[in-house]
Amino acid sequence: MTGEPFKQSADDAALVAGLRAGDERAFAELVDRYHASMLRIARLYVRSPAVAEEVVQETWLAVLQGIDRFEGRSSLKTWILRILANRARTRGAREGRSVPFSALVATDAAVGEATVEPGRFRARDDGEWPYHWAAPPRDWPEERLLAGETLQVIGGALEMLPESQREVIRLRDVEGWDADEVCEALQISPGNQRVLLHRARAKVRAALERYFMGEVAMAQ
């Protein structure tokens, strides 16, 4: 009820028209864009991979059944994510997952966590520069940043993350979703979304630092 009315994008308008007209390409386009992510998201709500598959399939059917009533008050993507989140949450509750994902996130996010090793900084009572860098970061070899081996290091670092952090950084940085979309899909607050993203990015940065600096040390 507040703010500017949402303006439907040309992309959304074409997809919605395609779905309503029964154009398979429009549906294939949506499935290719979102299905893999939706499956991972569903698995945060329900434990069983088979149930997660079901939830996503049901979501697609609900999208088709509801498309005539879709009024374009949000983006098509956000609308799909809302259907997914509602179904997955209901199913997760029925499945009896002991603690809902969103509650888990709220608990995680509330705990303070230094994302840079405290030993990298001077002491609080340092006479000159309290809490300034003792071991400052050194420049990375820019030309190596997108090399295959570097990307493998990043992939490995993502695997090590707690699942909530991993999903947020995947959606935001690998798939390029915006913050609102991630909040909608995972049913988390904007503040918690940022906390998870921050921790995830900081850990990946640390992994890259170890990788680049370890190599420098060996070369010397």
């Binding site: 299905h35 059917l61 059944q65 900084f121 300034h132 860098w133 997108l146 992939g155 940065r205």
Partner: protein, 90 residues
Amino acid sequence: MTTIVDDITCRELVELVTDYLEGALEPADRARFEEHLVVCAACVTYVEQLRQTVRATGALREEAIEPAVREELLRAFRDWHRGHSPGPAP
């Protein structure tokens, strides 16, 4: 060298980078953040490395749907469309 009480330290700054990049800092905090960067090359490097991290993470490949699942969904779509707008009987 006088230290102003509410200056951001490097140790604090590294925890604010994401809020900064997301535009979620209050204007006063944003100003203090940027003032710190003017005088601290190490923190400039840190912020740059987080940007580099975001850029490199964006170069990872997205997951794709399994072909069999895709086929099944497209079949469901055709079924839905037939029931949705019934044409002349075959």
